[in-house]
């Protein structure tokens, strides 16, 4: 036998011996989820600053449990719309005091019981601005957390409001005090724990292949029931095409939010082994009007400070068409700054339809007329009705929509220059108010209280400088209401729509791609893969 033939034979033998297990191991009840970002520190109270990412949250949701979860109705007000997790029950002593009884069956992955000491330790970290500034801010209305025995914790609040329960349970899951309380509180000291976290959730940590994937295994002793899917791989592919290829090739079983363009959803639908699962998301897209002059931030914007002009711009847009063209069936036009995930979305009024004749009339009424017949309106000083629209290059959807918006506004005599910039530049310019109109998108918390951040006079995220004290008053009353009263919230939304600080374009429905071997798929908007442990076993 020649040397070459021997080499080929040897290679073939090595290949066969190697490939067989490659095929064999696919039989197990596993799921490979492909995501665009790596979870680098999936540990509650560590997910601050740059670690406050969905990737970290998604993995943390498999490893750690909250006291209770937001229920299927996504109602964050009151104490009723929640599902027990580490806390098996709760009672209210008075309007300022909530008592949680922990489930005595709950165990950490190392076998130690979950106790009130863990809750106190976690909440102590969460409420410390030096450790977790973001968490400390959102839990600022919790006055104290105390233990009454091994399995009872008492939360006291500074004021009466509807989302006390939500604040006590949603913002952070519980971490093990017995492993962590001796460590210094800074993130550096926790590196070892973050590299191999120990939680109390349905899955436990197995390994991480840096830059490639994280492997989790079912916690067979999980007190709420052992998961039917025994192995979870969270695989990273930053590039959207690579994610889609992995899914189409069957090398990944699931992905969240199939990347644009919309034809990619058709590719998944046409694939025999895949199906699409639409899930309402917390993602809201809108055109934010800057009411201050970008060149002189102390002065009102020469065009957009005028409410009638802003309203005309909104009326000139065919928002349902924009949504259909870019998102297909997977989006709707919101009323006010409210994504479809928020409970106050239900029953909200219908957004105003396109009305270009009214838009033209409003513009003409404010002195914007096409005096030189060049298709662009001018004011009495011959200044053109021209503005820039800032768009981030990271969003294909927003860029696509921006071009359609440019065309629709041109029809009523408005000149719009679309400026496409890198994400870092976009965020910097937005924060500095260096734009006329910004194509913004926000990922909203399930609680409508987050609206105060961007849509109140003193809101720290109020980049467009919208200010209506009346609307502020309505919002704060709605937030303080002890009941889940949609009426007050809808009054606030109407007031915002009347002031037209932005053109609210779309509330997105995320489209997940999932392998058909999973007979039943449960995906909750608040945590994409948080219910994985409830999924039935996949077909082999």
């Amino acid at each position: 036998m020649s040397w070459t033939a021997r080499l080929v034979l040897a290679a073939a033998l090595v290949g066969v011996s190697g490939v067989w297990p490659l095929l064999a191991h696919r039989e197990s009840a596993s799921i490979v989820i492909v995501t665009g970002q790596e979870a680098t520190a999936p540990v509650p109270t560590l997910m601050e600053k740059s670690q406050n990412t969905l990737a970290n949250q998604d993995v943390a949701d498999q490893l750690f449990l909250r006291l209770a979860d937001v229920g299927p109705g996504m109602v964050t007000a009151g104490d009723q719309g929640f599902v027990p997790m580490l806390a098996r029950s709760w009672t209210r002593r008075d309007s300022l005091t909530l008592v949680f009884d922990l489930d005595p069956r709950a165990r950490w992955h190392d076998g130690a019981p979950v106790t009130s000491r863990d809750v106190l330790f976690t909440m102590g970290r969460a409420r410390d601005p030096a450790i977790a500034p973001r968490l400390a801010n959102v839990t600022r209305r919790i006055a104290s957390v105390e233990a009454e025995g091994e399995h009872r914790v008492v939360f006291r609040f500074r004021e009466v409001y509807a989302e006390q329960f939500y604040d006590a349970t949603f913002h952070t899951a519980i971490v093990p005090a017995h492993l962590l309380e001796r460590l210094p509180p800074n993130a550096k000291a926790w590196t070892e724990f973050a590299a191999r976290p120990v939680g109390s959730g349905p899955y436990h940590w197995v390994r991480r292949q840096q830059g490639e994937f994280i492997e989790l295994a079912a916690n067979e002793d999980f007190f709420l029931g052992a998961p039917a899917i025994k192995r979870v791989i969270v695989r990273v592919a930053v590039n959207a095409d690579a994610r889609l290829n992995l899914l189409l090739a069957g090398e990944a079983d699931a992905t969240e939010n199939i990347p644009p363009p919309i034809t990619n959803i058709d590719r998944v639908t046409e694939s025999k082994h895949l199906r699409v699962v639409p899930v309402p998301s917390s993602n809201l897209g809108y055109l934010l009007f800057n009411q201050r002059d970008p060149a002189h931030p102390g002065q009102p914007h020469p065009i957009l400070a005028d409410r009638d002009v802003r309203r005309a711009l909104i009326l000139a847009l065919d928002r349902p068409l924009l949504v259909r063209a870019v998102l297909g069936r997977y989006g709707d036009v919101p009323f006010g700054p409210v994504s479809s995930q928020l409970w106050i979305h239900h029953g909200a009024p219908t957004p105003a339809p396109q009305d270009q004749s009214t838009a033209r009339r409003l513009l003409a009424g404010r002195g914007w007329v096409d005096r030189d017949q060049d298709g662009v309106r001018e004011n009495r000083n011959n200044a053109p009705l021209a503005m820039n629209l800032l768009v981030t290059a990271s969003s294909q959807q927003r860029q696509q929509m921006a071009l359609m918006i440019q065309q629709q506004l041109r029809e009523v005599g408005v000149k719009l220059d679309v400026i496409r910039v890198e994400p870092a530049v976009w965020a910097e310019r937005r924060a500095a108010g260096d734009f006329d109109i910004d194509f913004s998108a926000a990922t909203q918390d399930p609680s409508p209280s987050g609206l105060a951040f961007s849509w109140t006079c003193d809101g720290p995220g109020n980049a467009g400088h919208y200010c209506d004290r009346g609307a502020d008053s309505l919002l704060f009353r709605a937030m303080a209401s002890p009941t889940a009263d949609r009426g007050l919230w809808h009054q606030f939304l109407r007031r915002v729509e009347e002031a037209a600080p932005a053109a609210f374009l779309y509330g997105q429905v995320y489209v997940f791609g999932v392998n058909r071997r999973f007979p039943e798929v449960i995906i909750r908007p608040v945590s994409s893969w948080g219910s994985l442990w409830r999924w039935p076993a996949p077909r082999s």
Partner: protein, 323 residues
């Protein structure tokens, strides 16, 4: 020779220092900073931003930041990545093997197949084979790597199902699987990215080799070899090819940094966990410490490769030592 070597080493060190300073300054001058990216989907309050700016020392004057960076270079502490929250050295070390593997495989393909094809072209100059290979190699050279990668992934990975479409290993393969299985697994994942990278770079090697060999084949000693009755195979490979390798060394020096820098697009399209894609996403998010760590490595390699090429020239051609 020693004086020449010392002079070249000093030149290389100065070039390296200038490159690093330029990269540091240009990165700071570029619009956008590491923290602004964090606000893309979750806006932060000005107070929170100020806190983070102080935490990452972005509120310090640029000369202080540079001084800290230089200290870090000499103490092997390049800081912590803002995006990943891990030490830059750890991140680079974790990504380096994948990049070396991909770059090494691409260079190997490039300098085996590329040289062989270049020789075939030179030997059959003007033939259909020569013309066809010229057209094919130039087509490959002109093809954008990300497009070619996507086409190969679709055709070979999705339609035919022959090879994995992305990643470096199958995550479902147990970590304690026998080594042949793990080796075959990595090799299978390597084929498409290495092939893509090779196709778009092989044209240069082929053209260099073809032209160099054509030059040598015209020289009198080749005529002498033929006149002595040596078989054509021996004339080409033993006599002509060895002498035609000299210019290819330059090309090898140019390709050597590919070992580390890899190809950003190829790594992205195939989700290859290398340094190229890591550095690209760091640059996009203005993750200064990570960008500078990667740039330091890349600049070091380019300068070292250039120095090694000169050294190889000097060893092979005595005239270079005195120039």
């Amino acid at each position: 020779m020693t004086r020449w070597l010392v002079r070249r080493t000093v030149q290389a060190a100065v070039t390296f220092a200038i490159a690093v300073v330029l990269m540091f300054v240009l990165m700071r001058l570029a619009p956008g900073d590491p923290l602004s990216r964090l606000q893309e989907s979750r806006p932060m309050s000005p107070q929170e931003m100020a806190h983070l700016r102080a935490l990452y020392q972005l509120d310090q004057p640029i000369h202080r930041q540079f001084a800290k960076f230089v200290r870090g270079v000499f103490t092997a502490d390049l800081g912590t990545s803002i995006e990943h929250g891990l030490p830059v050295t750890t991140l680079i070390a974790s990504r380096l093997p994948a990049t070396l593997l991909l770059g090494g495989a691409a260079i190997l393909l490039n300098f085996t197949l590329g040289l062989w094809l270049g020789v075939r072209q030179a030997v059959r100059r003007g033939s259909h084979v020569d013309r066809a290979l010229t057209v094919l190699s130039l087509a490959g050279y002109a093809t954008p790597s990300f497009w070619l990668g996507l086409v190969l992934a679709w055709l070979v990975g999705i339609r035919l199902g022959w090879l994995p479409v992305a990643g470096m290993r199958d995550p479902l393969l147990p970590p304690d699987a026998p080594w042949p299985a793990r080796m075959v697994d990595v090799a299978a994942h390597l084929v498409l990215p290495a092939l893509t990278l090779s196709i778009v770079t092989i044209a240069g090697t082929m053209r260099y080799q073809r032209n160099a060999l054509l030059e040598v084949l015209r020289l009198p000693f080749i005529g002498t070899a033929r006149a002595k009755g040596l078989p054509e195979r021996a004339v080409v490979w033993r006599h002509a090819w060895r002498n035609a390798l000299f210019p290819v060394i330059t090309l090898f020096g140019l390709w050597l940094p590919l070992l580390v820098t890899g190809s950003v697009f190829v790594e992205m399209v195939f989700a290859w966990p290398g340094l190229g894609s890591l550095a690209a996403s760091a640059a996009s998010s203005r993750d200064y410490p990570l960008v500078m760590g990667a740039a330091l490595l890349a600049a070091g390699l380019v300068v070292t490769a250039s120095l090694l090429t000169d050294l190889a020239y000097a060893l092979l051609d005595p005239r270079v030592r005195y120039s």
